[in-house]
Subunit: 377 residues, 2 copies
Amino acid sequence: MDKRYLFTPGPTPVPPQVLAAMGEPVVHHRSPDFRPIYERCLARLREVCRTESDVLLFTASGTGAFESAVVNLVSPGEPHLVVSAGSFGERWIAMTSAYGADVDELRYAWGETPDPEDVRARLAAREAKAVWIVQSETSTGVVADVQAIAAVANEAGALVVVDAVSSLGAVPCETDAWGLDVVVSGSQKALMTPPGLGLAAVSDAAVAATGSTPRFYFDWQRTRDAQRKLDAPFTPPVSLVTALDVALGMLLDEGLEAVFERHVRLGRAARAGAKAMGLELFSPDEDRSAVVTAVLSPDAAELISGVRNRFGITLAGGQGDLKGKIFRIGHIGWFDVFDITTALAAIEIVLAELDADIERGVAVTAALDAYEHSSVA
Amino acid sequence: MDKRYLFTPGPTPVPPQVLAAMGEPVVHHRSPDFRPIYERCLARLREVCRTESDVLLFTASGTGAFESAVVNLVSPGEPHLVVSAGSFGERWIAMTSAYGADVDELRYAWGETPDPEDVRARLAAREAKAVWIVQSETSTGVVADVQAIAAVANEAGALVVVDAVSSLGAVPCETDAWGLDVVVSGSQKALMTPPGLGLAAVSDAAVAATGSTPRFYFDWQRTRDAQRKLDAPFTPPVSLVTALDVALGMLLDEGLEAVFERHVRLGRAARAGAKAMGLELFSPDEDRSAVVTAVLSPDAAELISGVRNRFGITLAGGQGDLKGKIFRIGHIGWFDVFDITTALAAIEIVLAELDADIERGVAVTAALDAYEHSSVA
């Protein structure tokens, strides 16, 4: 018996029908075997991103797709405002700096929630070509209020670039309605597909604002021109595109609003269960935290190896300074409440064995109650 | 009945056991579920590349992996010598130029074979930091004598960067023995895996020679440091790595020498069949042309749509100026002689219907004879 459970906030579990698509025979990307799939996948991506703009696909991780935004939008010496409240925010500061941006760093402690008024103050003090913001900071469980931050940035005439790698398809991300110029994501989170595909929804304004940094592989214009002819500039990962198309179809069949509501309820269930056990949350205890639940525990390291060794369960630990201090339960994508109760039940058993000060026998019921009886506004 | 046959020189057919690996449940890349696979895959890649150096994996197409060589090795204004005799050589001229290299372009007509003495003369006239050469020019079927060109480059003190995207695992590429500093390839050709993974074998000398061009995603040092700890700097495409590991195991079980011999015989069979039919080769009629066979035909466009519509067979056409003038039969990777006879038989039927001036009933036998009775020196 070797049943495994994946609760990491990326890669996430992949539905069987998407795995089946991964195993289909390979077809040529410029043949009629592929073009209809490609066309449908690109259309579905626009739907999921809630945009009329092109969604550009890159054979790359989410970081690679994010780099497409940096090499297209950043020219050396230009002012940019990067908001950071965790591991990924720090990565984007490092990346924009590596490409020579004059970066105004709006830094928060890990776990804090970025405040739109801070963005307003920074932009009043110094112009920025673009504001770079993480929607779901996977390292902490915080989901930023991208709508409010984008409103402030738009008012100041700055472009808005959003890292929606772990949030797209889990929480609302209204690309056009919120005035987001670039939304970056990856296949391996809420889009329920194995890792390997990065994407960037790119507005006309963003394409018009591209700068002087040399680029080739990640050049937006080259990719956009090709995609508009249903081609790709370089051999695309046909298996991953085919799988993504199936997964997007599932998301859209469920309905994006229903998907978002499910994630809100999953987050409530995870937090309710952890609290009922007597654990302290590191994630904000609010509905927007619907992607990953981070929990404080001095036993985090032993817990993670314990659930792995006893039950084949993979949880995530803390990153950076949070290593050994928190554990994280991802609930992005192919999740229902019984995944949450499985995680909680296993955590409870192993923490009890570690003599942690927890209450037994209540977490699962609390999670089920929170999931079943919560209605989302 | 919907049986399909893929004869394009990338993507290539993927063996069932590799497809099965693509469809396995996704595991976390930093978990014990993945690390042993990753470690074995990296070791097998070194074996296939015949190198003691690190083989760096990128979530990218072959072009992306090639870009890693450009952004790491090219600094603006530096002299580089790029050899081009087809579509991919032209791409590398465009890419190195985009990154500001002072490019000496050694250009041949498409279909010509680069001459090591021309490289010697160019390097005598002007120093170059690196010589960039395509091993198998997929657009023409020409396989360059990389060993001889590398010897000339090494003598002149230049680094050697090889595009082995369609050749690695099909024809010999002795990274260390030939003094190749960088060997770039992709998963979707002779490595019998779906597209999505790029790789670069990178010598210490190449890493020591990295320049000032900004980079992040494709930075060699970052990727090498992570891989040496059995980590990846960014989420790797775990399904593709798992599939590649299976495919590399198959290649190494067959034995690289046997694999190379099989490809030589496949090339002989394809050329013998085409010639027996009365067609004229565009590929050089020599054993090194073991990757793709290009054939001249004024009926190329109709032939390609004909075999597709009647038999579900995908052949490749010509690129650039060769469009409509040639067709190409890829025989890279998961191929045996019956794939060649299938392609030839279908081509014969459709060309006959197009009233082409061909001889019927001889191609298949000629191909089988060439395959069976040829012994490779």
